[in-house]
Amino acid sequence: MANRKLVNGNEAIAMGAIDAGCRLYFGYPITPQNQIPEYMAAHLPKVGGVFLQAESEIASINMVMGAAATGVRVMTSSSSPGISLKQEGISYMAGSEIPGVIVNMSRSGPGLGGIDPSQGDYFQATRGGGHGDYRTLVLAPHSVQENYDLTIKAFDLADRYRNPVVVLGDAILGQIKEPVALKPPKPRKEQDREWVLTGCEGRKARLLKSLYLSDGELTKHNWRLYKKYQKMRKEVMFESVRTEDAEVIVVAFGSVARIAKTSLEMAREKGMRVGLIRPITLYPFPTEALQKAAGFTKKFIVIELNTGQMVEDVKLSLCDRAKVEFFGKPPGAIPTPDELFKEIKKALKRMS
């Protein structure tokens, strides 16, 4: 039996990290994710780990890079403006193929914005965010349980691909309290450790770098990275709710998908055939799932807590195979199930 605890979303992430074997945490305080470093500060020393509050987000991601280069599991967390500061380090980690988990419990922007929930960091998370031609895997939980489960998953994926993995939540997912089933962690699989820096005792010296100046060397490196990003496609995850007979499919992720699920039930009660596809990995994006759905419905409504970001991926996935409508709420307000239900109803009318 799994051990169940009532915790908030941020704590669930920290618990997931420790259960995944994360033993080092470097971070810098920013609302609304402070319970993550606070939990780590209290609990990592008890399991022989290291918590260090860095002088900045920039320093903390670089500490993550240094520690991860030695083969240990390490994490940082922050919220939107802090994640912007970490982007340089994330790009270097991707370039040097160093794993690590970066949690973004996003808030509203641009700029200092506010501390209320938003999905305005979708582009930043899914397009690499930093400089250069790279990708990060992006996991988007929609419940406290998933905060825990997907954080554990993030560590496995980071190791598997030697790549930074982003867990993208928001202020709602950080603050809500729900029971979480703590599953006994599986023993960590031994990954290819031929790259890890431990001092060159009994072996040749190793180097982790992202600078490639010789003729053609960088092109080769980037093609190799590209192939790796293509392989990541098999990690795609999504949830499908009542899509079998759906006349219209709502596409939403994270906390908004959670609200949309209630709206969906309201619509079903009124006899409207509404389904939902919830991308759990934002990169790789569940393109194939949407294409398959376009085989039986031609209407999609994308709902986001921003002015339209994921909708571009939905349109790219579907091309001209279906009608795509968008309903967005810019940061600063959270839609209610009633409001989403009305929007779904209106969109259905327009589309028919």
Binding site: F26, I58, M63, A69, V74, G89, A205, R206
Partner: protein, 250 residues
Amino acid sequence: MKQVFKRPTSLIDVPFHFCPGCHHGIIHRLVAEAIDRYDLREKTIGVASVGCSVFMYDYFDTDVLEAPHGRAAAVATGVKRARPRNFVFTYQGDGDLAAIGTAEIMHAANRGERITVVFVNNTTYGMTGGQMAPTTMPGQTTTTSPYGRSTEDAGYPIKMSEIMAQLGGVAYAARVSVHDPKHLMKAKKALNRAFECQLNREGLGFVEFLSACPTNWKMSPLKANRHVADVMVPCFPLGVFKDAASTEKD
């Protein structure tokens, strides 16, 4: 026949890429000698910075990790916290450590990270073509201070060793030069002491090397060497600014 002088084991036997008269080669050698002296080659993880020194991984026969510009001290913090038994050093230039990476070095120093910092001060950005650095001396001409550094507009050369000496976590801070054998021997001694600070878990060890950059200074190697002694040393006084061991004795 007895061999009395040889290449340090920790240095790979390849020619340096550095410009003629540049001191990086000498400083590389001194660092490698210290690694050998304490038998650390198989325990060392070096952190390369951005600038002329980034290619240290082509020369040091140790594990090396490349840090983003200025972030070497933070990267080294992560390495050392994860692997406290490894020997960890950063090798950074003045643009890297004293400009873009000021926050990282100050806080790593203040936390007393058990790392050794090799700081090479040649008063200019070497790799990018000789722009003004925070260490550029008053009146010094660079590509971005074409009329000479004006203290009114651009402030004063920053003196990192003196700043480091003020921070609680620093066990040792010294400024040395390698422009002649006498000073080179002193530099060697300082570096050894900075290594010991890490090995004895005393705190952060910091050694600032005054270094020539003949190419960007537009001087012959010989003239650049003399410039270090005659112009740089009066601006950046040599010496030990802090030594936890002697402080304790006091």
